[in-house]
Amino acid sequence: MLLIDKYAYINRLNKIHPAEKMVLTFFLLMFSLAVQDIVVSISIFIVMSSLTIFAAKIPFRYYVKLLLLPVFFLVSSTLTILFSFAQGDIPYSALLWRIEIGNWQIFISESNAEKVISLIFVVLCSISCLYFLILTTPVQAIFQVLRKLKVPALLMELIEITYRFIFVFIESALRIYLAQQSRLGYHSIKQTFHSLASLISAIFAAVFQRARELTVAMDSRGYEGEILFLDEYYQYSLKSWGIITGIIFLIIIVYILFGGLL
């Protein structure tokens, strides 16, 4: 249903301690955002993509498909940054391209182009970090770390109930959708709106019914106001901390030696 979720549970790195994967991901994310350097970004992108494809064994084609996912946002936003508009004279000299229409100028300045190129690399690097985390770490393992980090228990409970029922509701939404489709519910725009609205209302009604049933079921299992269960057992490993430290050092050394080169 949700392929990212599925891979998170079945990939080869799923048993690695989530805290280890989170430390690596967040360090590299922060570092690349902080230094905004193309060489660093490329290095991180290569390291994280390799981990995702070769270590976690996420299918290459699926990974590429995921990388293309944010293309719309990236293209439209970077083009927006790339082109500048000005009325009258342009106060800048270093221009790559310029067009004049009426008293308006559209232009691409050198500094803007640099900014955009660096941004694209930083973004690619960041999503490779994000994808590494979400493709290799089950959401529930991330929750476990968040609980250890003392995120309020009530918030964690809300998050967990949400997660559990996302799948229940997707399934019922899908069923309703199929039933409507077989009765020609999506054959015109007007029908589509009507059918979608009744689908949404049905799921919304299910919220209350499920809430009631869940309250009863939890009470009958001795629930006393806080969801408790055994933590899943993950082991910290010297080897992965070694690899993490190695990667971090490598990236820092790359930054010191080659930073600003491109």
Binding site: K6, I176, L178, A179, R183, H187, Q191, S198, S201, A202
Partner: protein, 281 residues
């Protein structure tokens, strides 16, 4: 009545995540027949239904409807879905809006019929399914048995030629099951083709002209009910049990408490009738 309605040719369907739900299925479905589809949960029964309605499109192989390959453009789908009505297992996913009458008119409205025709069809379907007295009730006040009948009326009102029923008696107590079975007879009297999936082997054995067995996406059997249950190997590999009427008759015949010359009884009544009229050999 032996015209072929659907012809499936080496139909294969693979879900986006790579699991094959249907494997190379070839079979033909003839007009006016009552066909029961047996198979465990996850065997591919629902997937097959969704193909016959044009909601899923096969990965390979093809489906012919009345000799012509099924097309997937908007207009062809409209014609297909007008011809083929599906009643899903869980009526709650089928009935979602408003009251009984409004829900039943959902399909007819989508067919673009005139208000009068929609109204006429809706009234008629309600009468056939015996839900006219419920017409103003909101859906969520209905019992499960009532919901099922309303869902069926919603399909019937569109006047399809083929009815696909996904486990029509699941979750119903024996009282409502019986009612649903009567409803199936009502529909069949209109010379409609009925294809239904069920776990109720006894019912399938009694009701169906033909039985189709699917296991793990593969077609294991398509033919007469009696000969199916004589083939132990198919029963084992599809996890099917024999209907008790069949099994009891087999044992009584073996023990010569029933004449071996009698044809196999198909229902409880037939079996008991045979026992009654038994004179000893």
């Amino acid at each position: 009545m032996d015209e072929v309605l659907f012809e499936l040719k080496q139909l294969t369907y693979v879900y986006p995540d790579g699991t094959a739900a249907l494997k190379n299925i070839s079979l033909s479905i003839r007009k006016g027949k009552k066909i029961a589809l047996l198979g465990n949960n996850g065997a591919g029964k629902s997937t097959l239904f969704l193909h016959l309605n044009g909601i899923l499109k096969s990965t390979s192989g093809m489906i012919l409807l009345e000799g012509k390959p099924v097309q997937y453009d908007r207009k062809s789908l409209l014609t297909l879905r007008k011809k083929v009505g599906i009643a899903f297992q869980d009526p709650d996913s089928q009935l979602i809006s408003g009251n009984v009458k409004q829900d039943i008119s959902f399909g007819p409205m989508n067919l673009g019929w005139s208000k009068e025709k929609v109204n006429k069809q809706t009234e008629w379907a309600m009468k056939e399914m015996d839900v006219t007295s419920l017409q103003d009730r909101p859906i969520h006040f209905l019992s499960l048995g009532q919901k099922k009948r309303v869902a069926f009326a919603g399909i019937l009102a569109m006047e399809p030629e083929v009815f696909l029923f996904d486990e029509p008696t699941a979750g119903l107590d024996p009282y409502y099951s019986k009612q649903i079975k009567q409803v199936l007879n009502t529909i069949h009297q209109k010379e409609k083709t009925i294809l239904l999936s069920t776990h109720d082997i006894h019912f399938a054995y009694e009701w169906a002209d033909e039985i189709i067995v699917i296991s793990d996406g593969e077609l294991l059997y398509h033919g007469h009910p009696v000969s199916l249950f004589q083939q132990e190997d198919i029963l084992v590999s599809a996890h099917l049990e024999k209907p008790w009427v069949f099994e009891t008759a087999q044992i009584l015949k073996k023990k010569q408490l029933l004449s071996a010359a009698n044809s196999m009884p198909r229902s409880k009544d037939e079996l008991f009738e045979l026992i009654h009229s038994f004179k000893g050999e």
